[in-house]
């Protein structure tokens, strides 16, 4: 392999450089995303509750997230007494890294031609032939951050949150994967690129898979621990759940992971069920624009749900997961299979 390295010509170098640039670009975007998202979430919350939301820092409070960031950076970093220090450090990273790693396989668009240079670049870091499996596997990993963070804190609330999140993860991961399986059956491929390309010209999966989409949405909500399934951090009963002992930057890592996970789920919903970057209703195709627009809609939708629904009880959560979603998703696969045959 080493002599190949030496003979690497300029084109390969450009390819490698492009990938590096893409990775940096995507991760920077993801790092920056929580800044507008926290602001947006508070604004949505405020207006739904007939309030204004943040208003004092900058025009319409737009600088509030920056202020929060500065606050989080300068807060005291507390490690509880008798906490498992190494795991306590490791947990926020374990929560954050998978959330970012998922994006290695997510396509944001097909290809675009850059003007002047006349070179096509692909709008994805890599097109894995096991794309969706990779995404499900890696995003499932981020639950370790929650479990270990909860356990390492040496606090009852946090431990309860950790246990809850592990049980919740296991219950809903199955339904989530099964909902994806039906999509995979239609597209005949595990690669996300193929899945999107199979949905050209309004053959969006939402039309063929309404049930699958609902299952996906509910399970995804549970996977990313958002209301109505945010039991691991249920303020009412667990104070703040798994991150009750975390402060400062470590806490912000958890928050970051949570927001990135929300974006991931929105992206997945768009790719799997809403035709990815294909334009809706014969509107003109603009690279990336439709994709971002759809993702933004889903992000808004998740916030909207958050301030509409109350939180489920833990036993209700388990009932929904095992007794309703799981059989339904199996039924969905069965029916899809029958149609495909």
């Amino acid at each position: 392999m080493s002599h190949e390295l030496i003979t690497m010509d300029i084109n390969t170098l450009i390819e490698v450089a492009l990938i590096i640039v893409k990775v940096i670009f995507v991760s920077l975007t993801l790092f920056a995303l929580p800044i507008p998202l926290t602001w947006m979430e508070r604004k949505v919350a405020g207006h739904i509750q007939l309030r204004l939301g943040p208003f004092r820092v900058g025009p319409h409070g737009i600088l509030q997230p920056v202020a929060d960031m500065i606050k989080l950076m300068f807060k005291e970093d507390i490690v509880p007494d008798k906490a498992d220090r190494r795991l306590f450090w490791l947990a926020p990273l374990l929560a954050m890294v998978p959330a970012f790693a998922v994006y290695a396989a997510i396509p944001f668009g097909d290809t675009v031609k850059i003007p002047f240079v006349d070179k096509e670049i692909t709008l994805y870091i890599s097109d894995m032939n096991v794309g969706i499996l990779y995404i499900l596997a890696i995003s499932g990993m981020s639950v370790y951050g929650l479990i270990l963070g909860g356990w390492a804190s040496n606090s009852k609330y946090a431990a309860m949150g950790g246990i809850r999140s592990s049980a919740q993860m296991i219950s809903y991961e199955i339904a989530l994967s099964f909902a994806c399986v039906a999509v995979v059956m239609i597209a005949n491929s595990l690669s996300l690129l193929d899945i999107v390309n199979a949905q050209k010209e309004l053959h969006w999966n939402i039309i063929y898979q309404p049930l699958g989409f609902i299952i996906f949405l509910i399970a995804a909500l549970a996977e990313i621990n958002r209301i109505p399934f945010d039991l691991p951090e249920d303020e009412g009963t667990l104070a703040a759940g798994y991150h009750v002992e975390y402060s400062a930057m470590k806490f912000s890592f958890f928050m970051l992971a949570e927001y990135v996970a929300m974006v991931t789920v929105s992206v997945l919903a768009v790719i799997l069920f809403f035709g990815g970057w294909n334009a809706p209703l014969f509107l003109p195709e603009i690279p990336i624009f439709w994709f971002v627009a759809k993702v933004a809609f889903f992000i808004y939708f998740f916030m909207w749900i958050r301030f509409t629904l109350p939180r489920y009880r833990y036993d209700q959560l388990m009932t929904i997961g095992w007794k309703i979603l799981l059989p339904l998703s199996l039924l969905n696969i069965l029916v899809t299979g029958l149609f495909l045959l």
Binding site: L133, Y144, S166
Partner: protein, 165 residues
Amino acid sequence: MEKIFFLIFAIMAIASAIGVVSLRNPVHSAISLMACFFQVAAIFVLLRSPFLAAVQVFLYVGAVMVLFLFVIMMLDIRKATISRFVPGGLFWIVVILIALVYEILAVISKSNLLARRVAAVRLDGTVAEIGKTLFTEYLLPFEVVSVILLVALIGAIVMGKKEIK
């Protein structure tokens, strides 16, 4: 290149596997087991089988280990760290270990089974091929395994039910 990566992953895998048995705290053991699974998944990638790697991470790291952690967290960790699981100290462990290693080496070196199977199927690692192979060549084992799993599932449910009554 590939060899170097393989060595890195293999050494890490073995190191974390040793960690699993030697670490006192069950949670730490579980973490190193997770790391071990990850290294194995990486080795699968090196073997050009991303599907297996993804499945490895998905099932073992994503589901099985979470369940392990779930159970471990229910235990009283302090008691568990004190107790030793094998009576009689290191001696018997070493004896059993040597016997096991000998057996494995013997099986690998004596039989030509492994070499033949790999040559016969020659997987490219793509999902479609794995699927085809499973449902043609290995249909019977596949079905047997699924029946066994089903039985285990039902058994678990039945055992779980009894306690409630």
